[in-house]
């Protein structure tokens, strides 16, 4: 369980550039959750996940991981964080060395490191024969998987992913999302930062919407998408299929707009005929 207790955070406090990033944030993430955090650029999402991962020190509020403060080493090691465009952080000569970098720093044995590299590669759907390739020869989607595998090799109990599919083509995106879903099924608790509502709808059981550093909404994705006013205030859009249903309704068709997937849309429209 992750407890976020009454967090506020201000950048460059006491200077003319002072900017409040987060105000009085409270929520918790249970084991097995797939929590999405949504909000437009500047809403405070990135600050929040860095605080959860223990990368920013707090003056106000606290983050507890399984009851322990995030400032402790044991708490911090339970959290893995994958930043946006993580492939920019690849640096080693081979895929294997890159993934092994983290576990090596944890001081694990060679055998354990090698086992973890294999397992991490399998988890993200990377072929074992690219182990000795340079990460820079891979496609965009593969590079990103290598970067994610590097974090998974640390065996985090909680995994934070910051817009993991940004910039990927539709196929790579779909594949990566299904790997993330598998990770979740394998028992990893996921915190997923995104503004792609269709991804949130397909994956998350709970969503938190941030705007101007505050929590504007917390609940099931399905509940969120019918609340257009909240979405507008947060600068977000419902999934394309929900938008389409809203437009069909505006065009005079008597369809429900609480639709999140193409399957649901197909069934709903077929009902009309």
């Amino acid at each position: 369980m992750i407890d976020i207790k009454n967090i506020s955070y201000t950048y460059m406090e006491g200077t003319p550039f002072e900017k409040i990033a987060l105000r009085e944030i409270n929520f918790s993430v249970k084991e097995g959750d797939f929590l999405a955090i949504a909000g437009h650029t500047g809403s405070g999402k990135s600050t929040l996940i860095q605080i959860i991962a223990g990368l920013i020190d707090l003056k106000i509020g606290a983050v507890e991981i399984d009851g322990e403060n995030i400032s402790t080493k044991t708490a911090r090691r339970k959290i893995g964080i994958v930043f946006q465009y993580p492939e920019y952080q690849l640096f080693e000569e081979t895929v294997e060395k890159d993934i092994a970098f983290g576990p090596k720093n944890f001081g694990l044995s060679e055998a354990e490191i090698s086992a973890r590299v294999d397992e991490a590669m399998k988890l993200v759907g990377l072929d074992a024969d690219i182990k000795n390739s340079s990460p820079f020869e891979l496609s965009g989607g593969q590079k990103r998987r290598v970067a994610i595998a590097g974090i998974l090799a640390l065996k985090p109990k909680y995994l934070i992913l910051d817009e993991p599919t940004a910039g990927l083509d539709p196929r790579a995106k779909k594949n990566l999302l299904s790997e993330i879903k598998k990770l979740h099924r394998a028992g990893v608790t996921i915190i997923f930062v995104s503004h792609a509502m269709e991804d949130i709808a397909a994956l998350a059981n709970r969503v938190i919407v941030l705007a101007q550093g505050k929590i504007l909404f917390e609940g099931a994705p399905r509940k969120l998408f019918s609340q257009t006013e909240i979405l507008n205030r947060a600068g977000l859009m419902p999934p394309p299929v929900t938008q389409l249903m809203l437009e069909l309704r505006r065009a005079g068709l008597n369809v429900s707009t609480e639709i999140l997937t193409l399957d649901e849309a197909e069934r709903e429209i077929s009902r009309l005929k």
């Binding site: 496609s139 083509d169 600068g235 977000l236 389409l244 437009e247 193409l262 197909e266 077929s270 005929k273």
Partner: protein, 264 residues
């Protein structure tokens, strides 16, 4: 006008990135280029303003051969580029200085620079922010400043290489509507994108795979073959996909068209 004739591009490591590309883009056209990562889209885009030169074949911009080193600046006076990450494109500490950077480098006189910067700011709807620091802007606003930089060069052709990939939905809308405005003003637009809803707004769509052009057609033609697009690892607008699932006639692109077809 851009003419691409039998273009081939082979990278230093021997990878054939583009293979026998033939394409003609007319004045005032809005062309979208789609394809999976590694299909050659960005490599093609970089040939339009001579960031890359053909290994074989030719690229002509308004009749100018891009392979000739002496033509470099003339090519770039004709074609502007906007990339994925606005943070990599913005150079100055104040918005209007950033937009003035290009014209200043051409040695244009101050009064003319002022006129162009104001025009560019108006075009992208950012006049209120001219004294701002770019670091204080949202992603969509930064990208519009990058576009204004191209507008201030008075180029007739602008190539956008995944300009919305890093933006949130609001930013994406802002940038796309700016692109459509530029097109309406008569500029030639080439848009590389992974978002099929954006490609659907273009006059023509070029589909690339493995360094080759697989198909060129109107969005309606391209997106009517849902199965083929999925096979290529691409997508189609939701309205097109739903229409296919509901066995409605092919060629539906928008919600309004879908609504009509359902009512019928």
């Amino acid at each position: 006008m851009i003419n691409v004739e039998n273009l081939r591009h082979i990278y230093a490591n021997g990878k054939v990135a583009l293979d026998d590309i033939n394409l003609e883009i007319g004045d005032g056209e809005f062309v979208a280029v789609i394809g999976t990562n590694g299909s050659g889209k960005s490599t093609l885009a970089k040939h339009f303003n001579a960031l890359l030169k053909p290994t074989a074949g030719k690229v002509f911009v308004n009749g100018i051969d891009t392979a000739d080193e002496e033509n470099l600046w003339r090519v770039r006076e004709n074609v502007g580029m906007v990339f994925q990450n606005p943070d990599n494109e913005i150079v100055a500490a104040i918005v209007e200085d950033d937009i003035a950077f290009g014209p200043e480098n051409l040695g244009i006189e101050p009064a003319e620079i002022r006129r162009r910067v104001d025009l560019a700011l108006d075009t992208v709807n950012m006049a209120d922010y001219k004294k701002f620091s770019p670091s204080k802007l949202s992603g969509g606003q930064k990208q519009r400043i990058a576009i204004a930089g191209a507008v201030a060069m008075l180029t007739k052709i602008i190539v956008f290489d995944e300009p919305t990939a890093m933006l949130d939905p609001q930013g994406r809308r802002e940038v796309l509507s700016t692109i459509k405005k530029l097109h309406a003003q008569g500029l030639t637009i080439i848009l590389i994108t992974h978002f099929m809803e954006e490609a659907a707004q273009a006059d023509r769509v070029v589909v690339m795979e493995g360094g080759k052009i697989l198909k060129i057609g109107t969005p309606r033609e391209i997106f009517s073959d849902v199965r083929e697009m999925k096979r290529l690892g691409l997508d189609v607008p939701v309205a097109s996909e739903l229409a296919a699932r509901l066995k409605l006639p092919a060629g539906i692109l928008t919600a309004a068209e879908l609504a009509e077809a359902i009512k019928r």
